[in-house]
């Protein structure tokens, strides 16, 4: 009888050792709190809920402490989460998301006023500013390149590049990129107000002209060829972006475009959000490097916004009266679509209730998507 009870007690204690309570560390508690904050921000404040809910919940999933060896964790070969994480590690999900983004993006604002494309280029200064700072802080060149892409304010691009250059830091980089994208309405307005005067904020821009279907089709094809001929390493992202856009604009592949911008992007968003969140296991995530990445992420967003706004001011020096650009759309050169364009609209309306900047800001905003993908291609070709 005694032997039987010993057997029962031994197995109960063995079972207890396998529970998350027994394996929990202080780091896991911190990460679970961070996950809960993400979920709170998404639900209560509606900060990027489509991203923060999957990532926040993924953080919870990734930080349930378990005894290793049972094919449970995202880093354990053969586990379900590991299979799902494969799409992140190999950079499969980001191009699929770009396909969906292409299928849902209307480039009309950009096509009707092509000089707005240049603002999307200027805002990429955030990426390379962060690269310089990261090098100065002692990160390796590949790590610095992967961290710098946070300044592009483009989650899929950040995941794509970090999976190639610094897979170990991908969780921290993705979380940082998405966090700051959610915080665009908080980070950008003070910089925009600081860098513009009251006269500039009231500049009215000419309404965009109507763009024909043929122009949109040519844009998708020429855009892909031109950008990828210059930076072939950006092909997975740029190719899919423009392909998705052609599906939309051709008008004859509505079903494909609907799938790309609907069910497909939703599925991939769920998978990428959950697995990136789950990759933030306290044991691998809570390091000084992660703290540095978060600090650099904030810096890169500030530099990018500053670069965009100052570039518009510079451009205005050369533009005739009546053709000037409102510098409040300079911030939207970072590619957080459409949040940064919405910030331009909101801040613009604060100074003139009838000056709607949204459609103008969408131009640099989508140019920022192209610009950040090109920048990622450059970093990849120089550092890999």
């Amino acid at each position: 009888m005694g032997t039987f009870f010993d057997f029962i007690i031994e197995h109960i204690s063995q079972f207890l050792q396998f529970t998350a309570f027994a394996n929990m560390t202080f780091g896991h508690v911190i990460m679970i709190c961070i996950g809960l904050v993400f979920i709170y921000l998404a639900i209560a404040k509606e900060f990027e809920p489509m991203l923060l809910i999957p990532i926040g919940f993924g953080i919870l999933v990734g930080n349930v402490a378990f005894a290793p060896g049972f094919k449970i964790g995202v880093y354990e070969t053969g586990s379900v989460l590991n299979y799902l994480y494969f799409g992140v590690l190999q950079g499969i999900y980001p191009p699929l998301i770009f396909l969906g983004i292409g299928a849902m993006t209307d480039f009309s604002a950009l096509i009707s006023n092509p000089k707005l494309i240049l603002i999307g280029a200027a805002a990429q200064l955030g990426i390379f500013g962060a690269y310089c700072i990261a090098l100065a802080l002692g990160f390796s060149p590949t790590e610095a390149g992967a961290i710098a892409i946070i300044g592009g304010a483009d989650g899929p691009t950040a995941i794509f590049l970090s999976s190639k250059l610094a897979p170990d830091l991908m969780g921290a980089i993705a979380i940082s990129a998405y966090s700051y994208m959610a915080l665009v309405p908080v980070i950008q307005p003070p910089i925009m107000r600081l860098l513009t005067n009251s006269k500039e904020r009231l500049i009215r821009m000419k309404p965009p002209r109507a763009v024909s279907k043929v122009e949109k089709i040519i844009f998708a094809i020429a855009g892909m060829l031109l950008t990828t001929f210059i930076v072939p390493s950006g092909l997975p992202l740029l190719g899919m972006l423009f392909f998705g856009n052609l599906l939309k604009e051709s008008g004859v592949t509505k079903r494909l475009a609907d799938t790309a911008k609907g069910p497909m992007i939703d599925i991939v968003t769920i998978l990428i959000g959950l697995t990136v969140g789950a990759s933030t296991q306290a044991t691998t995530f809570l390091t000084l490097k992660s703290v540095g990445i978060f600090a650099l992420g904030a810096g890169s967003f500030i530099i990018a916004t500053t670069g965009g706004v100052l570039f518009v001011k510079l451009l205005n020096v050369f533009l005739k009266e009546g053709r000037k650009i409102n510098p409040l759309i300079g911030n939207s050169g970072v590619s957080a679509v459409p949040d940064s364009a919405r910030v331009s609209q909101v801040v613009g309306l604060e100074y003139d209730k009838t000056n709607h900047l949204l459609m103008h800001a969408m131009g640099p905003n989508v140019a920022g998507v192209i610009g950040s993908a090109v920048a990622a291609g450059i970093l990849l070709s120089f550092l890999m």
Binding site: K45, D106, S212, E215, F219, A222, M359, I378, F382, M384
Partner: protein, 301 residues
């Protein structure tokens, strides 16, 4: 007829372009043509042993492509007049060379010992050649002009590179270049420790790419705007009384009047036969010509 001629010219143009491209190195497919004889050992006394523990001469083949290549079906020979001297058997997974990978063939004249054992030796060989599966296309050739040293391999200084020499280390099935190499990123940072160079180059490239897009789109836009204004002028002329010759050139006003009449008819208000329809252009500061604004999510509270 003119259209057909234009299409014909376009097709000729595409065909010529394809021929030109096909002739360049860039258009090379990643197949057996990317295989290289990479390193050889002619006189083996105490060097690498084969899977039977024997010292034989050996030939290392390198896959310079970034995709796997199956060497099965190709031919190795030491006699150019007999290019199909040793046929490498097909169907064996071991003949698939991984991207940037290697296989080693033992020149022991004992093919019965396995598919990597050749039917010739290297002692008196002057030429080694690798032929494609058709037995005619020479993929790579090595002429052994220098006297070979015992246990010292002769190979390309870098894998797949042009320069050959005696090697300091024998590296069968491994990288020929043993010198410490910095990664692309490390090399970049050695020259540009603060990232200023990277910033300048990268911003230049980003600007160039998007500026090119800007220039092209500015001109395409101008073309379409001009085309639209010409069409508008034509429409305007067509609406001038006496000049309205085409029935399909009906203005928006006429369409609106017809639509209104149909609406009244369907609403059974056809008694109002002498109504004047006034169409006034709506003037607004902001025109939501695209409905994107309505598809945005709510601003965060």
């Amino acid at each position: 007829m003119i259209m057909q001629r234009k299409i014909k010219h376009l097709l000729y143009g595409i065909a010529v372009l394809l021929l030109v491209v096909a002739g360049t190195d860039l258009a090379k497919a990643q197949n057996a043509i990317d295989l290289r004889i990479n390193e050889i050992l002619v006189l083996n006394e105490s060097n690498y042993v084969d899977d039977f523990g024997m010292h034989n001469g050996w030939i290392e083949i390198f896959n310079s492509a970034y995709s796997p290549i199956n060497i099965g079906g190709c031919y190795l020979t030491d006699d150019l007049s007999n290019p199909t001297k040793y046929w490498i058997p097909i169907g064996d997974p071991a003949t698939i060379i991984p991207p940037r990978g290697y296989v080693v063939f033992y020149a022991d004249q004992r093919p019965a010992r396995g598919i990597f054992h050749l039917n010739f030796t290297l002692e008196n060989t002057e030429t080694i050649a690798l032929f494609d599966a058709n037995g005619r296309t020479k993929i790579d050739e090595l002429k052994i002009t220098q006297p070979q040293k015992v246990d010292v391999t002769y190979g390309r200084l870098t894998d797949g590179g042009e320069n050959w020499d005696f090697m300091e280390f024998s590296t069968p099935g491994a990288n020929n270049d043993h010198s410490r190499k910095a990664s692309a990123g490390e090399k970049f940072v050695q020259m540009d420790p603060y990232g200023i160079g990277m910033t300048m180059i990268a911003m230049f490239v980003v600007f160039s790419a998007l500026a090119l897009l800007y220039i092209i789109y500015k001109n395409i836009g101008l073309f379409f705007v001009q085309k639209a204004s010409k069409a508008a002028k034509k429409d305007l002329q067509a609406t001038i009384p006496g000049k309205h010759t085409k029935e399909e050139g009906m203005s928006g006003e006429v369409n609106a009047a017809i639509a209104m009449a149909l609406y009244l008819y369907q609403s059974e208000l056809h008694d109002e036969e002498n109504t004047v329809l006034t169409i006034r252009k709506v003037s607004r500061n902001y025109s939501p010509w695209s409905s994107k604004i309505y598809t945005l999510r709510k601003s965060p509270r």
